[in-house]
Amino acid sequence: MIYAFVVHIGRKAGLSDPEGTTTGKALRDLGFRGVGNVAFGRTITLEIDADSQDAARIKVDEMCQKLLANPVMEHYTIEAVS
């Protein structure tokens, strides 16, 4: 059975986010008012073939720790989709 997940990866607090800062500035330069903090993140959508939803989620979590997220700089959450 195929299960789908979205992994949300964000940058840890305190780290600078040049892309976010630059994009925020660009929005203000374009005349948008009231633009506060702008932060960048990534999502990875995966299809996993496994026996159960839980088994699949465990796999995805392992993938995040091994490859998808960089524990030194990033935190992640796993969301099941259907």
């Binding site: 607090a13 305190g14 780290l15 600078s16 630059t22 030194v72 700089m73």
Partner: protein, 719 residues
């Protein structure tokens, strides 16, 4: 966090005696912020307390030296008003923690050292050392470091023109990431870091200050000071090449318009270091207002702002009546700027926050009064056992079979997996690109050119620190000489283990002696460098890894500089320089084929070095192909020419043993002539042609097969 038991200064890595001398300097107990400042400024990294007393042995009094060691970068005179600025730095630990950002911010840091001098940075080199690539973690580090250098260097718009890479077990948990940068300027643009003129103002340019890499963190968070938000302090710094690019253009425009009196980049200890150094170097003082600093996030404590090591920031000392012009230039380039200080008679550096005085120290004391140590040194025991493990080398080595093994070694195979990820063509000055012995850059509008080679050889240096160090100086000299340049100035990066271990300190002293001697012999000034101690993996010290960056200079440059890809059918092949003397200690053959590391590397005669280097530089104006013989010996050097030119060769009368001998100060010449016009001893050994790497009775292998193995050595491991 502070605890009752351990005094704060100990937590900050200060000895009791060091703490005592802080009290002597101040005549009282330091305030928390002051203690944080001294703890960082008097650290090994900032104060060179273990190495300083030895570095004095390097000479830099040659007439063409404009600025020697001590400033942000060394500067030499290229004639007609042109100057070159060069510097090398290490970013070893951050690159292990996070390879991409660690290497990226390393590039950013070394570039600031260059444009702080008034120079436009024009090129970068990246000497790298990793553990063996059969370990996934080491592959991850190589991948990350190379993309970090590419990601930052390419985007900031400074080409990376080469480097070198070594693989050995002792770098597994402590990779070495050194970065060298070169800049060019006209004499009138030279700027130094000594603030002058009471009433002049200090302008902080560039990135907003965040909670990055804060030294003395524990005391800053301690209740006695103010509540710092410790978990908000990131363990990694993120590089912003776009901000750096704008900062470069801003500073260069400020120099052009004569708006800068002195300038200093912000590195370790951030604002506290930059303000105290500019003031101290000028024999002045400074009043600093931390409330004026533009910050990245709310709620930062004064201590955090003072000590933050946020990247891409500069401190410029400017005259108050030109301040508006300075701010206009910053605004044009969309760079944030804040006026944070005023130069005073001194000698005090006074730091205010929220109206309170948080620090008041003699500006110069942070640098001048730093401790110096004569650390005990003694010859380590491993040397005798290592020397006893003499390489066992047969006379009748089969060249073909051996090359199949050596060409697949990642330190011998094609390095373009690395260099093709770097922009190495920007500015249209790269006459000789990565893949040759040294890179050659022309200076447009003149006939001048600069050549650079970075070299290190940690295993040979391990077997004999003094000889190993001298030999990398000579190799780098030959690497620039074969492009037509004469060795002109050198920067060094001394990567070592724990200096509190006498054996390591002995290695360090031997290396400095060997390097200083070799530079004397070649009359090459040492204009700058960097020392990185405490490199250990699993408690074992790394192999001693001095790295040199040699700047060569020629005026005029050769019209057609020698290249590896200019060999053609029928050219005669010569070996120029010393005869092979059976130098196999730490050779590719002994390490890769025998799996041994032992014996004692040959010594080198300074007179021979001078003659061979000068001979190569002269031949470079007449001969289409020159290539120095280094790791892997004659066989590998010839193969590299064949691969680049796409044509084979036939060698006669060289024994299998001599093909892999690594006796230094030898190079290959290929030319259409019956003899070479040189006084350096030389012998014809064969002819260019065919599609074989043909070593006569020593064996052979098809060019195509050798090239395939050589070309895939790195890619196949990184796939």
């Amino acid at each position: 966090m502070t605890t009752q038991e351990t005094p704060t200064h100990i937590q900050l890595g200060m000895t009791d005696t060091e703490y005592e001398s802080v009290i002597d300097v101040l005549g009282r107990e330091p305030r928390p912020a002051e203690l944080a400042m001294y703890s960082v400024m008097w650290s090994e990294h900032c104060s060179y307390k273990s190495s300083r007393s030895h570095l004095g042995r390097f000479r830099s009094d040659q007439p063409w030296v404009v600025v020697g060691p001590g400033e942000n970068a060394g500067v030499v005179d290229l004639g007609d008003g042109w100057l070159a600025a060069l510097r090398i730095e290490s970013h070893n630990h951050p690159s292990f923690v996070e390879p991409y950002q660690g290497a990226a911010t390393g590039v950013g840091g070394i570039l600031r050292d260059i444009f702080t001098m008034g120079a436009r940075p024009i090129a970068v080199w990246d000497p790298l050392r990793f553990g063996p690539l059969d370990d996934a973690r080491n592959r991850y580090l190589l991948e990350g470091v190379v993309s970090g250098i590419a990601g930052y260097g390419n985007a900031v718009g400074v080409p990376t023109l080469g480097g070198e890479v070594e693989f050995a077990d002792r770098f597994s948990k402590n990779p070495l990431v050194n970065v060298m940068a070169l800049g060019i300027l006209k004499r009138e643009q030279l700027v130094l870091s000594a603030a002058s003129g009471k009433g002049n103002v200090a302008v902080l340019l560039g990135n907003a200050t965040g909670r990055d890499g804060i030294g003395g963190a524990s005391i800053l968070a301690s209740a006695s000071f103010e509540e710092g938000d410790a978990e908000k302090r990131p363990s990694v710094q993120v590089g912003d090449p776009f901000e750096e690019k704008k900062l470069i253009e801003t500073c260069l425009e400020l120099y052009d318009r004569g708006l800068v009196i002195a300038i200093q980049d912000l590195g370790a200890a951030g604002i506290s270091c930059a303000t105290s150094e500019t003031a101290g170097n000028g024999g002045m003082g400074m009043d600093v207002d931390l409330d004026a600093v533009h910050v990245r996030e709310p709620g930062m404590t004064p201590g955090e702002v003072l000590m933050s090591e946020s990247q891409e920031r500069m401190l410029a000392i400017v005259s108050p009546d030109r301040l508006d012009e300075v701010l206009d230039v910053a605004m044009k380039w969309e760079i944030d700027a804040s006026t944070i200080g005023t130069v005073t008679e001194g000698p005090e550096l006074k730091v205010y926050a929220g109206g309170d005085l948080v620090a008041e120290v003699p500006a110069a004391s942070l640098t001048d009064d730093a401790p110096r140590y004569e650390r005990p040194a003694c010859r380590p025991g491993y040397l005798d056992t290592a020397w006893a493990r003499d390489p066992v080398i047969p006379d009748d080595i089969d060249a073909g079979g051996t090359l199949r093994v050596l060409l697949d070694d990642p330190a011998i195979g094609d390095r373009s997996w690395i260099s093709s990820q770097y922009d190495h063509m920007l500015f249209l000055d790269t006459v000789i690109e990565p893949g040759h012995d040294g890179s050659l850059l022309r200076i447009k509008g003149t006939h001048k050119a600069m050549a650079v080679s970075t070299d290190g050889d940690s295993l040979r240096t391990y077997l004999d620190p003094r000889r190993g160090a001298a030999r990398i100086v000579f190799e780098s000299a030959l690497n620039v000489a074969v492009t037509g340049a004469r060795p002109y100035a050198l920067v060094d990066n001394l990567n070592f283990g724990n200096p509190e271990i006498p054996g390591v300190m002995w290695q360090f002293i031997e290396v400095v002696d060997g390097m200083a001697w070799a530079c004397e012999e070649l009359d090459v000034p040492v204009v700058g460098g960097n020392v990185s101690f405490y490199n250990q993996t699993d408690g074992i010290d790394i192999y001693p890894a001095p790295v040199v960056g040699m700047l060569g200079f020629c005026d005029p440059m050769p019209e057609h500089p020698p290249r590896l890809d200019r060999a053609e059918e029928g050219m005669a092949i010569w070996i120029v320089g010393q005869d092979p003397q059976g130098d196999f200690a730490a050779s590719a053959y002994d390490r890769v084929v025998n799996g041994n590391l032992g014996g004692r590397p040959l010594d080198v005669d300074g007179e021979v070095a001078r003659r061979v280097v000068a001979g190569a530089a002269k031949l470079a104006f007449e001969v289409p192909v020159l290539h120095d013989i280094s790791f892997g010996g004659l066989a590998v050097a010839l193969a590299e020419i064949a691969f680049a030119s796409g044509i084979g060769f036939a060698i006669e009368g060289v024994s299998g043993r001599d093909l892999f001998d690594e006796t230094p100060l030898r190079f290959i010449a290929a030319a259409r002539s019956d003899d070479l016009d040189t006084s350096v001893p030389h012998a014809r050994v064969g002819t260019v042609g065919g599609d074989l790497l043909d070593f006569g009775q020593a064996g052979s292998m098809p060019l195509s097969e050798g090239k395939a193995i050589w070309g895939d050595a790195l890619p196949r491991r990184m796939r």
